[in-house]
C-alpha cells in the first residue's frame, strides 16, 4: 500500500503504460526506478570540488613540479615514485604525522572532560544561564588567527603569562614558543580554543535526556558519579562520539593556530603535517613533493579513520544501529 502511494505521487503512470503484473505491488521499488537522477547536481559538484582536485593532486605527485616547471605544469617531467620516496625518507613526513596525531588526540582527550563538565554546569535551569552559555562560547567563536595572535602576545618572554608566574613566585622566565615546550603550548592553546565545541555537542545530548531517567536513577539511590556514568554518558554517546571525531579531525587539520603562534620554520616539535606540507609546497615550491606527502597522509590516515568510523558506527544507517 505504501508502495502504491509512493509510485503514484512521484511518477504518475500514463494510461497507455504496459499492464501491471499482479502481485508486483507488494514488492519494494526496483533499484533502477529510484529517482537517483536527483543526486545529479550534488554529484556533479562533488566531482568538481572533491574528485577533480584529488585526481589533480594524485597526478601532481608523480611530477617534478616546482618553481621551474610551474608555468608549464602540464609538461612538467614525470618522475615516477621519486616524490613518494623523498616524502617517506627525507621530508620529515613521518615525524609530522606522529606530531599531528599526538597533538590532535591529546587535545581532544584533554578538551573532552572539560567540555562535558561545562555542559553539566549549564544543563539545569538557573538565573543567568544564558549569559554563562554565551561566555562559554567566546573562545570557540574567535577566529583561529585572533586566538593565535592573542596567545602569541601573552606568551612572549615578557608577556602576561610570565609576569603572572613571576608574581606567584613560579619563575617568570619560561620560553613558551620555542623548542619542545612549544608542543605543550600548542596543546594548551588549542584546548582553550576548542573545548567549547565538545561542550556544545555534550549539551545537545544532555538536553535530550528526559527527567524520568534522572528520577528513576535517584529512586535507585545513585550518587553523582553513578548518574554520570550510567545515565548521562550512555545517553550522550552519539553526539559526543561525533563531537570527538570532528574535534580530532579539526585539530589534525589545524594550520592557522601553529602558523600564527610559531611562524615558519616552526620548532620541530610543532612541525605538524599541515605546516610541513605548506612549507614544502608554498615556501620551497616543491608542489610535486607536497602532493605526494598529502597522498601518503591520506592513505595512512584512512586506516584509523575507517576503523574508528566502523567501531563508533557513525557510518551505519539508523536501521543498522538499531539492529
Amino acid at each position: 500500500m505504501g508502495k502504491t502511494t509512493a509510485v503514484a505521487t512521484t511518477r504518475p503512470q500514463p494510461p497507455e503504460s504496459a499492464p501491471r503484473i499482479p502481485g508486483a505491488a507488494a514488492r519494494p521499488p526496483r533499484r533502477e526506478r529510484r529517482p537517483l537522477w536527483l543526486m545529479l547536481p550534488a554529484g556533479s559538484l562533488l566531482v568538481l570540488v572533491i574528485l577533480v582536485p584529488f585526481m589533480l593532486a594524485l597526478w601532481m605527485s608523480f611530477l617534478e613540479l616546482d618553481q621551474y616547471t610551474l608555468r608549464q605544469w602540464i609538461q612538467a617531467p614525470l618522475v615516477g615514485l621519486a616524490n613518494y620516496a623523498e616524502a617517506l625518507n627525507t621530508s620529515g613526513l613521518l615525524h609530522s604525522i606522529w606530531a599531528s596525531t599526538a597533538f590532535s588526540v591529546l587535545t581532544t582527550l584533554i578538551a573532552a572532560p572539560l567540555g562535558i563538565l561545562a555542559a553539566l554546569t549549564v544543563n539545569g535551569r538557573f538565573r543567568g544561564r544564558g549569559a554563562v552559555r554565551s561566555i562559554y562560547l567566546v573562545p570557540y567563536v574567535l577566529p583561529s588567527f585572533v586566538t593565535g595572535t592573542l596567545w602569541r602576545i601573552v606568551l612572549q618572554p615578557a608577556g602576561a603569562v610570565n609576569h603572572l608566574l613571576g608574581d606567584l613566585g613560579l619563575g617568570g622566565d619560561k620560553q613558551w614558543l620555542i623548542g619542545g615546550q612549544s608542543f605543550w603550548t600548542l596543546v594548551g592553546v588549542d584546548v582553550w580554543a576548542s573545548w567549547a565545541f565538545i561542550y556544545l555537542m555534550a549539551l545537545s545530548g544532555l538536553q535530550t535526556i528526559s527527567r524520568e531517567l534522572y528520577e528513576a536513577a535517584a529512586l535507585d539511590g545513585t550518587g553523582w558519579w553513578q548518574r554520570i556514568r550510567y545515565v548521562v554518558l550512555p545517553q550522550i554517546k552519539g553526539p559526543l562520539s561525533l563531537g570527538l571525531l570532528l574535534a580530532t579531525l579539526h585539530h589534525f587539520n589545524n594550520f592557522t593556530l601553529p602558523f600564527v603562534l610559531f611562524g615558519m620554520p616552526a620548532p620541530d616539535a610543532v612541525n605538524l603535517l599541515p605546516m610541513n606540507i605548506y612549507q614544502t609546497s608554498f615556501q620551497s615550491f616543491r608542489f610535486g613533493l607536497g602532493a605526494a606527502m598529502s597522498v601518503v597522509t591520506l592513505i595512512i590516515m584512512t586506516i584509523p579513520a575507517v576503523a574508528y568510523l566502523r567501531s563508533s558506527r557513525l557510518d551505519a544507517s539508523p536501521q543498522e544501529v538499531e539492529a
Binding site: R11, W37, L38, L40, P41, S44, L45, L48, E64, D66, Q67, Y68, T69, L70, R71, W73, T90, Q156, P157, A158, D173, Q175, W176, L177, I178, G179, G180, Q181, G263, M264, P265, A266, P267, D268, Y278, Q279, F282, Q283, S284, F285
Partner: protein
C-alpha cells in the same frame, strides 16, 4: 519522460556550473582594457597613508596615461606567493607585482615575468637613475632584469648615544670584536640593561646575521657560480657560533632574547634596556621616535670586519646589508605592458619616491630622490651609506631553500640558547641537512 527529465536536469546543472565558472574567471578581467592591476602588500600599520598614497597615484596615473590603476593587496608573504603561483599557472591576474628582493630570484625562476629590454628601461627612465647597488636583485645579470627597485630597506645598526657617552665610548664599533667589547662594557644586568638586543627568534632576521658574519670572513652560502651550497662550511658554522656567543659566552644580550622577534628587540632598545640594536631597517624610526630614546639614538652601518680580525680577509666581503626592499615586476601574461612600464616610471619618479618615503619609511632607490632626502634628514645618513654598500644575495631559484635551511638550523637551536649552552655538533648536523636540501634544490635549477 524520465530520460527527458534527466537530460533537462543535466543541462541545468551544466549551465549552473558553467555559469559559476564563468563568473569566477571573469573576476580577473580588466573591464575594457584600460585598467592596470597592481598587487601590493597590505600595510595595516599605515592604512591612512596607503589610502592617500594610492589615491594620489591613481590620479597622477590617470592624468598621465588616461588609464586607471586598480590596487589589489596581499596580507602576508605567504598570500603573495600563493597569488603569484596561481596567477602563473592560470595566466591571469595582476599586471604588476610588488616583490620582496629575496623573492625575486624565485619569481625569475618561474619564467612568469617580463625580462626588461633596453626600450623598457628607457620608458621607465633609464637604468642609471637607480643606485647601482639597489639593482643587485633585479635579475641574474643586467641583460635579464625582471624587477625594478621601488623602495629600499637597507639594514644598519642603531646605538644609544647617551649610553655610549656615559660609558666613555667615543665611536660606534667598526669591527665585530669592538662590537663585543663595547657590548660587554655597556651591559649591567643588575639594572636590566644589556649591551645589545638581538631578535634571535625572528625568522626574517636571524639568517641575515649568519650571511653577514660568514661573508665577511670569506665564506659563502652558495659558491659564486651558483652551483654548490656552502651551508656546512666552517665559516657558516662559526657564524652561528659567534651569533649565539653574544648571549651564551659574552652575556651581552638579555637571556630572554632566545624568544625575541624583531618587535621585542626594538622595544628593548626603545625602552633603554639595550645600548645597541643591529639588523634594523629605517622602518624602525617611528617606533624609536615614540619612545624614551627619541633624540638619543644614531644609525650607522654594521661593523664590516669579522670576529677575531682587525681587517677583512682577502676573500671577505663588506657584507653589512643585503639588497633589501621592494621591486616591481611585470607579469609575462599582461596585455598592458606599456601601461605597466608607465606605472613604474611614475612611482619611481623622484617626487613620488620622496612622497613614498614620507608615508612609509622605505628609502628611495632612485639616486636623485635619495640625495635630496639624505641632505634634509640627517637621521638616515647611516642607512643611505648601508644602502649604497649593500650586497645582493645569490640570484638563484634555489634561494628559498637556502634561507629556510639556515633559519631552521637557528630555530631548532634556540632552546639550547635559552639554557645558555651552545652545542656546536648539533648545529653542524642541522647545517649539514640544510646543505643537502639546498644542494638538491640547486641541482634542479633549469634557468
Amino acid at each position: 519522460m524520465n530520460q527527458r527529465r534527466v537530460a533537462l536536469t543535466t543541462v541545468c546543472a551544466a549551465l549552473l556550473l558553467a555559469g559559476g565558472l564563468t563568473a569566477c574567471s571573469s573576476s580577473g578581467a580588466d573591464g575594457g582594457g584600460k585598467e592596470l592591476h597592481v598587487l601590493v602588500g597590505a600595510d595595516p600599520a599605515h592604512a591612512d597613508a596607503v589610502r592617500a598614497w594610492q589615491a594620489q597615484i591613481k590620479k597622477d596615473f590617470k592624468a598621465k596615461t588616461g588609464a586607471d590603476v586598480v590596487f589589489d593587496s596581499y596580507a602576508s608573504a605567504g598570500e603573495e606567493q600563493t597569488k603569484i603561483q596561481t596567477s602563473i599557472v592560470s595566466g591571469t591576474g595582476p599586471d604588476v607585482y610588488q616583490l620582496g628582493t629575496t623573492f625575486t630570484p624565485v619569481a625569475y625562476a618561474t619564467g612568469g615575468f617580463r625580462v626588461l629590454s633596453d626600450a623598457d628601461w628607457k620608458r621607465i627612465g633609464g637604468r642609471d637613475k637607480f643606485l647601482p647597488a639597489t639593482l643587485g636583485m633585479s635579475g641574474p645579470d643586467a641583460q635579464h632584469d625582471i624587477a625594478v627597485p621601488f623602495a629600499a630597506r637597507p639594514y644598519g645598526m642603531v646605538y644609544n648615544t647617551e649610553m655610549f657617552k656615559a660609558a666613555g665610548i667615543a665611536q660606534p664599533p667598526t669591527t665585530w670584536d669592538e662590537f663585543v667589547a663595547d657590548a660587554i662594557k655597556l651591559t649591567k644586568p643588575s639594572t636590566g640593561v644589556y649591551g645589545t638586543a638581538v631578535d634571535y627568534a625572528d625568522p626574517f632576521s636571524s639568517w641575515k646575521y649568519i650571511w653577514t658574519f660568514a661573508l665577511q670572513s670569506g665564506g659563502r652560502l652558495i659558491t659564486d657560480d651558483l652551483k654548490q651550497a656552502q651551508l656546512n662550511s666552517p665559516q657558516v658554522n662559526d657564524a652561528i657560533g659567534q651569533y649565539f656567543a653574544l648571549s651564551t659566552k659574552h652575556h651581552a644580550v638579555d637571556p630572554a632574547a632566545a624568544g625575541w622577534k624583531s618587535a621585542q628587540a626594538a622595544a628593548a632598545f626603545a625602552n633603554g634596556k639595550a645600548a645597541m640594536l643591529p639588523m634594523v631597517a629605517p622602518t624602525v624610526i617611528p617606533t624609536l621616535d615614540n619612545s624614551p630614546v627619541k633624540g638619543k639614538y644614531k644609525f650607522v652601518s654594521m661593523p664590516l670586519v669579522p670576529f677575531g680580525a682587525t681587517a677583512r680577509p682577502e676573500n671577505g666581503l663588506a657584507a653589512g646589508s643585503i639588497v633589501s626592499g621592494d621591486s616591481l615586476a611585470i607579469a609575462k601574461y599582461s596585455t598592458h605592458a606599456d601601461l605597466a612600464l608607465d606605472y613604474i616610471a611614475l612611482v619611481t619618479s623622484p617626487d613620488e619616491q620622496k612622497a613614498y618615503y614620507k608615508g612609509f619609511g622605505g628609502l628611495p632607490p632612485v639616486t636623485a630622490a635619495e640625495d635630496q632626502l639624505a641632505s634634509t634628514d640627517p637621521r638616515i645618513a647611516g642607512f643611505v651609506a648601508a644602502e649604497k654598500a649593500s650586497l645582493p644575495t645569490p640570484f638563484t631559484g634555489a634561494w628559498a631553500d637556502v634561507q629556510l635551511g639556515l633559519t631552521n638550523a637557528i630555530t631548532q637551536t634556540l632552546p639550547s640558547l635559552a639554557s645558555g649552552k651552545y652545542d656546536s655538533s648539533a648545529v653542524s648536523q642541522l647545517l649539514a641537512k640544510a646543505n643537502q636540501t639546498a644542494q638538491a634544490s640547486l641541482d634542479r635549477q633549469k634557468h
